[in-house]
């Protein structure tokens, strides 16, 4: 709950920033619904498609074809595993596992964009930053928790379609590549995002 409050505050702050920057006619605030699919070792841990996630970005045009900004996402992965037995050496444990991963990627972004005549803008670029990972496994009444930060690179492609002069539909596809560290293996995933971009 505390995390949610922090993020809502950040959301509110970003709105204020947008109102200020909007005067310059070159700033964009995006918010979107985010879905995720684990790849590699995250997929081994949770293979179920994630329907829970949100994200927001603030970007500004620094040249005619370049956007720079930052973004924060929140994706939640969850899977209840069927009753199973886990054996290591001479010890075996059986039970039902409930697996969770809350991931909060935060990136600085540099994107290239190109506008078409029909109101569509194509965007491609990369973000770089860090992800806060909160991974939990519930087994019986016991919980195994791992909280850590992982270095993150996010290649991304996106498109916006103008609804009117200040609003656009947004679609994007990101690959959140989180580098492994001492606490967790690489927890990487694809995210599919749909939302709105606000601009003036």
């Amino acid at each position: 709950m505390k995390k949610a409050i922090y993020i809502i505050c950040l959301f509110a702050l970003t709105l204020n920033t947008k109102d200020t920057k909007a005067q310059l006619n070159d700033s964009y605030f995006n918010f979107y619904y985010s879905m995720g699919l684990g790849t590699g070792e995250l997929n081994d841990f949770i293979s179920k498609y994630s329907w829970r996630g949100v994200g927001m970005e603030y970007k500004t045009e620094v040249t005619d074809n370049i956007l720079a900004g930052f973004g924060v996402d929140w994706n939640v992965f969850y899977e209840d595993m069927p009753y199973g037995t886990f054996t290591k050496d001479n010890v075996s444990v059986s039970g039902k596992q409930f697996r969770y991963l809350n991931t909060y990627p935060m990136t600085a972004k540099l994107h290239y964009y190109r506008d078409s005549d029909n109101g569509v803008r194509f965007i491609a670029g990369t973000g770089i930053g860090t992800s806060y990972m909160d991974r939990e496994v519930d087994l019986g009444q016991y919980r195994i928790s791992n909280e850590t930060w992982q270095f993150l690179i996010v290649p991304e492609i996106a498109a916006t379609y103008d609804i009117d002069a200040s609003r656009s539909l947004l679609l994007s596809l990101k690959y959140n590549y989180n580098f492994k560290n001492n606490d967790l293996p690489s927890m990487s995933y694809l995210s599919f995002n749909i939302g709105f971009a606000f601009n003036q």
């Binding site: 809502i8 619904y33 949100v54 929140w74 444990v93 039902k96």
Partner: protein, 205 residues
């Protein structure tokens, strides 16, 4: 118009945020049952064939330290009968204590009750009184009782160390002690079956 759109977007966005965090989880008490087993790497199971099984199930943690307490006979028989059935199905031969068995199986149970206590510090905030002193409003609480069944297989053929017999195999069944007697019996049987299923080293046939 635009500010209303932003407001609506913000509300939807906030709802989405709160919908995240912690989905799913255990729905039934049986979802919380776990079965753990371990065997000794030293014991030569190929040379162990006969067993004896105590009909009593000891209550560990009982206040009465002079006279040991036992689980009620009806519940104890559910446990010992199921262990007996699994041992026989695995090819072991039951003998009485005087017939020099290879291993001895003893069972014990442990229960503990946890009280969760909630005191609502936020209650009434905003009416000009500030924070209420903790405990001013009646707190709410809930309790859960957890239980574990410990099954120990002692190796009687191995030499005793300091008068103690080494453990050849152990099983711990842990879960919430909730629900009706029949539900508990079914869960106990299922858990004991699982303990043997995940211990192929006990199989003789």
């Amino acid at each position: 118009m635009k500010s209303k759109f932003f407001l609506a977007a913000g509300i939807i966005y906030s709802l989405l945020l709160f919908s995240a965090c912690r989905p799913g989880g255990a729905e039934y008490v049986s979802d919380l049952d776990i079965v753990g087993t371990a065997y000794s790497k030293v014991t030569d199971f190929s040379n162990r064939k006969t067993y004896t099984l105590s009909p009593n199930v000891l209550k560990v943690g009982s206040d009465n330290v002079i006279k040991p307490e036992y689980l009620d006979p009806a519940s104890a028989s559910v446990i010992t009968n199921q262990i007996d059935a699994n041992m026989k199905a695995n090819g072991w031969v039951k003998v009485d204590t005087m017939s020099n068995p290879d291993v001895s199986i003893i069972n014990s149970v442990m229960t503990s009750t946890t009280v969760y206590y909630y005191s609502n510090y936020w209650y009434g905030y905003g009416y000009g009184y500030g924070w209420y002193y903790p405990g001013y409003y009646p707190p709410t609480y809930s309790t859960t009782t957890t239980g574990s069944l410990l099954t120990q297989m002692l190796d009687l053929k191995d030499s005793a160390v300091d008068g103690r017999r080494p453990m050849a195999w152990v099983s711990v069944v842990n879960g919430l002690v909730e629900g009706s007697t029949s539900t508990f019996a079914n869960r106990a049987r299922r858990a004991i079956d699982q303990a043997f299923k995940q211990s192929p080293i006990l199989k003789k046939n």
